[in-house]
């Protein structure tokens, strides 16, 4: 089965959680060596910039390849991401109508993995920030506000999507 996220997932047979674990296994030792060389702030800034730029470019390219309005691009990406992430989280929908989608994630295996590893900021870069890159595909028609995440220590992730009125 092909997904709009094939470039991101590399291999659809590997779960997103396993894919992320493979990436953390190779990246964490490199990051820690670089912190020892440059200091934490400088090393973390490099990994942040590198991974954010990569993710933004990747999802922008994927979004460009999807036909239709920004809202449709977002919906298509969001649905593909849901297929690979929903099995790893528990969530409660608060509101879902034509103006908004609001839900709270109350358990997240990605956060559990990265917090156990002691690298929640790396988890935020590899997993949580993806939601904003996908929201960007909704260019002006979809916006995301998320005040807190489990990855950064909160009891839940508060996803609040707003949709612009349809013309």
């Amino acid at each position: 089965m092909t997904s709009v996220l094939d470039d991101y997932l590399v291999d659809p047979k590997v779960s997103l959680l396993d894919k992320t674990r493979i990436q953390a296994q190779v990246l964490v030792p490199v990051l820690r060596a670089l912190r020892a060389e440059l200091g934490n702030d400088k090393a973390d800034a490099i990994v942040k910039q590198a991974l954010r730029d990569w993710s933004r470019q990747l999802f922008a390219a994927v979004g460009d390849a999807i036909e239709g309005s920004p809202r449709r691009k977002w919906a298509s990406l969001q649905s593909a991401l849901g297929e690979v992430t929903l099995r790893e989280v528990e969530f409660e929908i608060r509101r879902h109508d034509k103006e908004a989608l609001e839900f709270d994630v109350t358990r997240c295996r990605f956060a559990e993995f990265f917090r156990a590893l002691g690298e929640p900021e790396l988890g935020a870069l590899l997993i949580c920030e993806t939601d904003f890159d996908i929201a960007s595909a909704g260019d002006g028609e979809v916006s995301l506000d998320r005040a807190q995440t489990i990855m950064r220590g909160a009891p839940s992730c508060t996803f609040r999507y707003k949709f612009a009125p349809r013309p």
Binding site: V30, A50, W54
Partner: protein, 156 residues
């Protein structure tokens, strides 16, 4: 972090490369090929040596184990086409005539990073696999050669 995830070697390397490439590219842009980039490369080599030790545990640390490793893990899932030329208790010679790892990096236009992240691991891997063996290799497909000439032999 030693949990093994059941996945082919080629796919695993591609998944790792997806995050290593932007990270190493950013380091190089910022620091050039100086000591910082060398820290990154040295860490990757250290991981390769650890992986070599794990493989020795699974396949045996002799020449026969090395051949099985190359044929089942590295070449597994179509990663490599291997032509074995010679095998004794003290040496193993094979050519890689097609390399999907190199094709992956070439499609991205990043053969130089492929040499750094992928090919350069092999010498470090051997040290972890069996310190009594050594690898010489005069060319690789990643660097534009027609084949990769792997020549392992017992150190004298």
């Amino acid at each position: 972090m030693s949990d093994e995830i059941a996945i082919g070697h080629l796919q695993k390397r591609k998944i790792e490369a997806r995050v290593l490439i932007p990270f190493i590219t950013a380091c190089r842009e910022k620091f050039g090929d100086g000591p910082t980039s060398e820290v990154v490369a040295a860490t990757i080599r250290a991981q390769a040596a650890e992986e070599g030790a794990q493989w020795a545990g699974s396949f045996g640390s002799d020449v026969a184990g090395l051949r099985e490793l190359a044929e089942t893990v590295w070449a597994g899932g179509g990663g490599l086409d291997i032509q074995v030329l010679d095998q004794t208790n003290d040496r193993l010679a094979f050519n890689v005539t097609r390399c999907r790892y190199a094709e992956f990096y070439k499609e991205l236009g990043l053969e130089d990073l492929g040499s750094l992240i992928h090919c350069s691991r092999d010498h470090a891997m051997v040290a972890g696999f069996n310190d009594g063996l050594e690898l010489t290799r005069s060319q690789t497909i990643m660097d534009g050669g027609s084949c990769c000439d792997f020549r392992f032999r017992r150190k004298t």
